[in-house]
Symmetry: C2
Subunit: 584 residues, 2 copies
């Protein structure tokens, strides 16, 4: 037996017991004729003591040891004179009587500490060592716990976890597929799923009633910090439900996770905010509602002002930053620079300071009287001491810039606390999105999303204005999940494909089996998919999903640890009846 206890287990009540521990050497110190070793495993750290006087040979043996050696020790649990309240085992130490070196270690390329000296690149290459660090491993333990509680909840709600195939069929719609050449079917390819969408809908046709799966999905897209070529979804679907049934079920799941993982009780119903209002008040379909600071639309109010920029702007709007009238010139200049950054692209920033002493100071004093400024302030419910910030310009661009400004102010004012959670549902998304380049509509959610019954008559006359039974779960400005009530009627689905510019042949070719399935009694159904990586990173308080993935890929889609992708032998390609058109 390699151990009787883990390194995180022993307490004061174990004193005088003979124990065997195994683990990694975290630290070695020599102090007054004693050698102290911190022995580490996943469960904690236990202090080992080697007494030079009574165990000379043993102490000499420790001289061979270095950091990250794997050792086994036998000894007695003793009370520490010098207790360490920072660790759970801090009341005890082991008086070592026997030491076995299980494995040696070269000096690691970076320190295995909570704060390491290793750079990103190096840590990715030696990911197996980076994963030894507590904060990284804890992210993955958290991931495990969240997955476990998701399953507990959904199992309790009668959902059946059902695996859908990974080797499926390529569809040109949506993101780019990864494809897999088939050896047994020459010249043909499987595709890896971007989501199990079609299969979960088929399971509803099959009468599974409630399906879920925590499942890997794949998109061959250019990568950003928050994107990986393979990512994980909590994929769910329900039958005989309307939108509110779905929202309530997954609101329940979210609350269950907050309760079991974070011990946070959320005792209110998540707000439902329409897409239109989300854009109007936050300039985003994933608003961070940890703080208010809603947009106020001034377009009509300032139409007739003397300030040309306002008169001519498609949109004028602003936010009110509580108690920020004291912002200095320098701070305001920095904010101006912020909104003028190319990726935000505002032309400039207008401010109105409602000073604590009742005076008003603004960058547009020339054009507005104090009374006019106060009238504007009243629109924001601005109090003395508040700062109003205003942007003007083309509608969408300005809404977006104002959104960024609002988030930046939220940061500066400390309103985006990672330990505060503000969930909401954004609902009533538009059904379609017009693409200027290809001059066609795309499905905003996906081609299976149902239009709202009350907007159905606009489907022919004004499809761009049709709202969908589609919704996103947003928490702290992050889109955690999204879904829709699906079309379950064959004819309506055909019509959607037509709106999306599919020829009948294309629709038949790509989704024929789904259309066919719908002919045999499809039930009303809908569902949702959560980004599992994002959910975990939200719970972990991280900005990127990379550190909640055990073995992530870099921005070129490479796993630098295993050095993949890599060239394959020509024989392999020959067997698959494919050839490279470039040199390796």
């Amino acid at each position: 037996m390699y151990r009787t206890h883990t390194c995180g287990e022993l307490r004061i009540e174990h004193i005088n017991q003979s124990v065997t521990l195994s683990g990694w050497v975290q630290k070695i110190r020599n102090l007054g004729g004693m050698t102290f070793i911190d022995l580490r495993d996943r469960y904690g750290i236990t202090q080992l003591v080697f007494n030079e006087e009574t165990h000379k040979a043993l102490c000499e043996q420790t001289e061979e040891l270095g950091r990250e050696f794997v050792i086994q020790v036998k000894g007695q649990v003793a009370e520490r004179s010098n207790k360490n309240s920072k660790i759970a085992t801090g009341d005890i130490e082991i008086l070592v009587e026997e030491l076995t070196i299980l494995n040696s270690s070269e000096l690691p390329p970076f320190t295995i500490e909570d704060d390491t000296d290793g750079g990103d690149e190096l840590r990715m290459k030696y990911r197996y060592l980076d994963l030894r660090r507590n904060p990284v491993r804890e992210n993955l333990v958290l991931r495990h716990k969240i997955g476990f509680e998701v399953r507990n909840y959904l199992n309790g709600e009668n959902f059946i976890e059902t695996e859908t195939p990974v080797l499926i069929k390529s569809t040109p719609e949506g993101a780019r597929d990864f494809i897999v050449p088939s050896r047994m079917n020459e010249g043909q390819f499987y595709a890896l799923p971007q989501s199990p969408q079609v299969f979960k809908q088929l399971l509803m046709v099959s009468g599974f009633d409630r399906y879920f799966q925590i499942v890997k999905c794949f998109r061959d897209e250019d990568l950003r910090a928050d994107r990986q070529p393979e990512f994980t979804q909590i994929d769910c679907e329900m039958s005989f439900v309307e939108q509110e049934d779905i929202l309530n079920t997954f609101e329940g799941m979210t609350k269950h996770l907050f309760k079991t993982i974070k011990n946070v009780d959320i005792d209110y119903t998540f707000p439902r905010l329409s897409y239109a209002d989300a854009m109007k008040y936050y300039g985003s379909d994933k608003p961070d509602t940890r703080f208010e600071m809603k947009f106020v639309d001034l377009t009509e109010d300032v139409k007739d002002s003397e300030f040309k920029l306002f008169n001519e702007a498609e949109y004028v709007g602003g936010i009110c930053a509580d108690a920020c009238a004291s912002y200095t010139r320098k701070q305001l200049d920095k904010l101006t620079d912020f909104v003028k950054k190319p990726q935000i692209g505002a032309g400039g920033l207008i401010y109105i300071k409602f000073n604590a002493d009742g005076s008003v100071k603004s960058s547009v004093d020339k054009f507005f009287s104090v009374e006019q400024l106060k009238e504007i302030g009243a629109k924001f419910n601005a109090k003395d001491g508040d700062l109003v910030l205003i942007l003007a310009g083309a509608l969408n661009k300005t809404l977006n810039a104002l959104c960024e400004l609002r988030l930046e102010m939220g940061n500066q004012m400390g309103l985006r606390d990672k330990n505060k959670f503000s969930p909401l549902w954004v609902v009533d998304f538009p059904l379609l999105e017009w693409d200027e380049d290809s001059e066609r509509f795309y499905a905003m959610h996906h081609p299976f999303t149902s239009p709202k019954a009350e907007d159905m008559d606009m489907l022919d006359s004004n499809p761009g204005d049709v709202r969908a039974n589609a919704y996103d779960l947003v928490i702290n400005g992050v889109e955690i999940g999204g879904g829709s009530v699906r079309i379950f009627n064959d004819e309506l689905q055909q019509k959607m494909f037509k709106l999306l510019g599919f020829t009948e042949e294309e629709a038949e070719n790509q989704f024929g089996f789904l259309m066919n399935a719908f002919k045999y009694g499809a039930p009303p159904h809908g569902g949702v998919a959560f980004g599992f990586d994002r959910l975990v990173s939200l719970f972990a308080g991280l900005d990127s999903i990379r550190d909640v993935i055990a073995f992530p890929k870099n921005n070129s889609g490479r796993d630098v640890m295993i050095d993949s992708p890599s060239p394959v032998a020509k024989e392999q390609l020959d067997e698959l009846k494919i050839a490279l058109t470039v040199k390796e």
Copy 2:
């Protein structure tokens, strides 16, 4: 709201309640001025009643309905006069007051009944309809439950479920990989994992201590009934353990599954049978131990007989079938035909009948006296009424044929009850297998398996005889899982690669990152992987894994429902810098 209750929920205590149900029309009958509909959903069947006298219009509406229409009804729960004890809702019926047709259905291509009239091919094409049938859906509900209980058990034992990558690196060792061309890394390929073996070992190096994952794996091999190109493993690994720790942990998991899923208590420790004994007594490394009928080796006993076949045979052995002396000539001829089938390949079958009346009758009466036959019988502990069956020939071939004969006799004697479960561990597998064709050793389990300490000195002198710390869990003759204690020492691992004929460069190229990881303090570790599909099919009492997979592929690796694999657009291939070397 589409329903207040499911179709499996209403009982006598719901009488007089107003309810709304939704589901599929299973059956329509007209009887004495009434229309009866069996309404079906995943949860059960509820009888609907339409009264022609009181609800004429409603009754007329039912005339539009056909099998598999999706309907919603509102009505009152009433006690049935004619109760049906076969279904849980058989005490009640719904007096329908309102009917809504949610969706129509064309006539399904086969009947949606427990016993269907649809052939295999048709049911695969319309898999979404086949999944509506209770027995098929129940297999998948069982799969969900088993997965859920696996997670419950392993979570309770401190295992962390960790996702490992699906886009990994191709390794020529083992089965053929599926590969995935990388667009971002021209001319390079990912491979889909045959198992997460290397990653789980890396997680042990990372100090994860206990890892598991229920995970899809992929092998591009020619398919048989029990093989699918994508299959699911319960993949597990533990640190600081010896073989017995691993066996006990997963024996515990297996017992937990039997208890929670089958309500079967297994109160004994699973037998540990050495590979050598498994071959000796059952001619197989996955013996069906639901019944004894062990082989008796007669080679030495009959060496000097007058029967040339026995004298010259490398192996002579047999089994004793209790109370089968009454087998007729015809039955014995059929058994002889059975063992002579090409895939079994025995030359013939020798029998000795120990008749109930004490007389002895055998097919080798010419060569053996009654006393000699009785002596042979004694080796089997044959009683009056028993039948001894003997095969002779080359060792391995004869052991295999005798194994098949034993299983066949088990079938004929009704000893292979699907509701009886006989688990055991087969242990001490050989480390290496010699391959005549390539004249090299292959790892019997995989290249990371550790040799037994006591056999270590044979590694150079006699590698073929070295036993491994490798084990299989076998239940009812099915290999449910297998694993090994791993090599955790860099040098020994290098030596293994050498034994397996890898050049240093090949080893470095394929497993360099693992070898490198082992330099930084790898703990002793080992693990196991269970075939999830096989486990579920065992619990479901099925012979093939196909019906425990929601959307299986056929023997050509095709999904005939979605018609995949399929050709892809030339533009897709161009982007990936590959071209077909055959016409589509």
